[in-house]
């Protein structure tokens, strides 16, 4: 990686319109507030809001950045050099790749890593300190396995993937190219498939595994169980946030994104391009079609087949109000019947 780019080089790479000095040297990306000389900043809408947040816009006139990447409508408020694009997010993502520091602390195989028999590890891959790989693992080009990451037997990971420190990937799991798996994730432990026998609950055998497509990202401390009969399958471009639990045999189709703390029961299927809000629970054996949005902290206890936005849950209220209103909920069926009776009586 080169240690700097000129503003002109960046403009060309990200296809932005440059106003200012093309020879200005840029060493890194920083926020409007923290950027100093030699850094480029950016002004993009908050990803949560369609309009520009004033919080960031008001920092624009006084930034100490050498240059700012922004949309045409904000250029007039900027006192320093600019790179202008209609979609500055696109430019930001490309530009950040130029300056991204590698997380490979130990290129090659660290001497403390323990590698099983018959593993195929690409020459450009990096296996971190104290990593443990089982027999017959396959690690493709440019992939990084962080310190303490444990791979069981016959784990296969594609190219350009990053497994952060302290990840567990159990035997036979297959992971595609450009995966990012954050610390504490556990991929491929046995699911919660139990049957009652005379001596108590017994776990059914888990013959399936977990298969992750390309460009999948898995958040910190997220867990994905292996299938009991069928495999657990995560499609291309799926992004999972932190502390998500994916049950055995679940199927998540391409480009679906799931926010933190979601729990998904066994054998549930979620379509393409869905967005599942944080802390939502999806029961087992549910089918969710493509292009469905579920808002946060919902409970999905029936299948959803029509594209659209779905919700459950109740609003936050001052405690005294909540106590009274929620108590009435416990007799709502009786209240409804009273209404029907009143209606009937009145209209008779």
């Amino acid at each position: 990686m080169q240690n700097h780019y000129t503003l002109g080089e960046i403009a060309k790479i990200i296809d932005a319109q440059l106003t200012g000095n093309p020879d200005s040297k840029i060493y890194s990306v920083a926020s409007l507030k923290n950027a100093t000389q030699g850094q480029i900043s950016f002004l993009v809408p908050s990803r949560y809001q369609l309009v520009m947040s004033n919080r960031f816009l008001k920092l624009l006139p006084t930034t100490n950045a050498s240059a700012v990447l922004l949309a045409p409508e904000h250029q007039s408020q900027c006192q320093v050099d600019t790179l202008v694009m209609s979609d500055p997010y696109k430019g930001l993502i490309e530009m950040s790749k130029l300056f991204k520091k590698t997380t490979a602390h130990y290129p090659g195989i660290h001497p403390t890593a323990i590698i099983g028999k018959n593993c195929h590890i690409a020459a450009t891959a990096s296996i971190g300190a104290y990593a443990v790989l089982g027999d017959n693992c396959d690690i493709d080009a440019d992939t990084i396995i962080g310190p303490y990451s444990f791979l069981g037997q016959e784990v296969s990971i594609g190219a350009q993937s990053t497994i952060h420190p302290r990840v567990t990937i159990e035997q036979n799991v297959t992971i595609g190219d450009r995966a990012v798996i954050y610390s504490g994730a556990v991929i491929g432990s046995e699911g919660f498939g139990l049957v009652r026998q005379s001596q108590g609950w017994c776990r059914i055998p888990h013959l399936g595994t977990v298969i992750l497509g390309n460009d999948v990202e898995i958040g910190a401390n997220t867990t994905i169980d292996r299938g009991s009969v069928d495999d657990t399958v995560i499609g291309n471009g799926v992004k999972l946030d932190n502390q998500i639990q994916i049950g055995h045999g679940v199927n998540i189709d391409d480009h679906t994104v799931i926010a933190g703390c979601v729990g998904i029961g066994g054998s549930t299927r979620i379509g393409k391009n869905c967005m599942i809000g944080g802390a939502t629970t999806i029961n087992d054996n549910i089918i969710i079609s493509d292009n469905i949005i579920v808002t946060g902290m919902s409970q999905v206890s029936k299948s959803l087949s029509t594209p659209g936005v779905y919700s459950s849950g109740t609003h936050i209220q001052p405690y005294d109000m909540w106590r009274k209103n929620t108590a009435r909920l416990n007799s709502l069926d009786k209240l409804a019947k009273k209404i029907f009776r009143l209606e009937k009586e009145q209209h008779d």
Copy 2:
């Protein structure tokens, strides 16, 4: 472990009725879909459904398995050898044990494991790479401690237990026989017992520990806090799924099963043979009697003493409907009073 069994041997071990060639060699178990020659498959109801899923039944006539374990009513649809049992689950669990691959990658004590003073480790136990055991630990026969698992001082683990890689068991914790603890679990960290003092919140001392009975299973990334005064006690045969949080001083009695993402507050007691659905929250100081079922994503904020099924929460709706209906919930008490007034007026 022998590398194959004959179909006749399996029939005898699991006590099933054999139709076909008793000398047929079986090397492993596989699903109806994936099984090939030399493998035995099975047809059992989905554990979630009382009736047989058509999804699996329709695969029966065309399976390439050498034999299938199934119930009498399905035998006529099978083209290959069969093992027939009235409870094919029972047979499946027994049969799977015959073919289960050991997870002990490193029998004995791995040279990189660090063992404290005065530990008693059975000759048949296996301590994995980079495991760290504190002083005075006691590991019984045939128990496997996975790579990177950390045991504090005076931890005791019974026989035939499997501690997967990357588990933390803090000092003084006691675990029975045949435990299975999955990766990322933390057993025995201090509970969230705080009291407000002039300088801020202070943690109360945690003098208790965690005691796990026999046949306990703990899912990936589940956490169980040690008790502050009394111990946290998990009974025999209790099964906990992934990402569960058990507060300090909780007591869970024998053969209760708890699904993923459940949180249980401090000092709560749960009886025998209960079933707690996923993502349910149980407040602190609650008492739940034996044989109680709580459905998923419920909030248990009062004790439950009568056996039966309990629920809370709301149904998923299209967003526009949800928004209108939920808004009304915030004035439900007023609406109820209107109904009572109307009723009174009309009947006067």
Copy 3:
């Protein structure tokens, strides 16, 4: 640490009134139930209840402890020596410090720890077995880094902090004095900031980090994401329980306490001295003022600016009741309109 204190010494240190033998030797603290000769016990209200639990009070007359720390109103029921204080919790916390066993199994830098370049590690700090520290880390006096804890580059940890085994702290994170971080926590992984581009969802760059004040405690398997533009900031004296998820750019002000399994969305701000109940979900971009209490399993989807107690969620009911009542909730808006119509008709 000395191995015992006399009762008179303890009374002086914690400023309690002694009744009994000041020369009695005390070796440790134990519960009323388990304490034996040479141990001191205590009687304090349950932290959950304002009144004394009978569960502990009834153990007082028969305890085998050498002495009991208690409030004046309970002294008459005690048969052994007493230390009397109006706030026995204060005394308990001070007294426990006297007897607390150190968790530093390996003082100094363990020979298997891997330390990056230019790290500053205080002579009194302890770095555990198989710890991995990146370049330029700064570990202050008396701080303990547990086995397998991973610190990225340029991590700074203040004095007298305890990082339990198996914690991940990513690059550039700053932690204050007297921190306690439990096993499995992940501090500083990248947040779930995604934008949709033509090739699928892309993660926005995370230029921010995580900054923890003094006296912060982080529970087992809790995750705190680094900021994308602004830093994630956790104030002094903040206590986080287990399995909490803190999104990128969140700000939690001093002395706020958050119970287990809470999820907090990106860029949300929580004031000082708040108490957030377990399993609550707080949406992104929310602002919660100082001194706000949110009860367990609530969903906070709007900002809260008036101090007080807030709740959402529904009560647990027997399943048959719940099914009927919750079904009515899906037509509550229609029911409300019926009521208004009836009211209008009746009053016309």
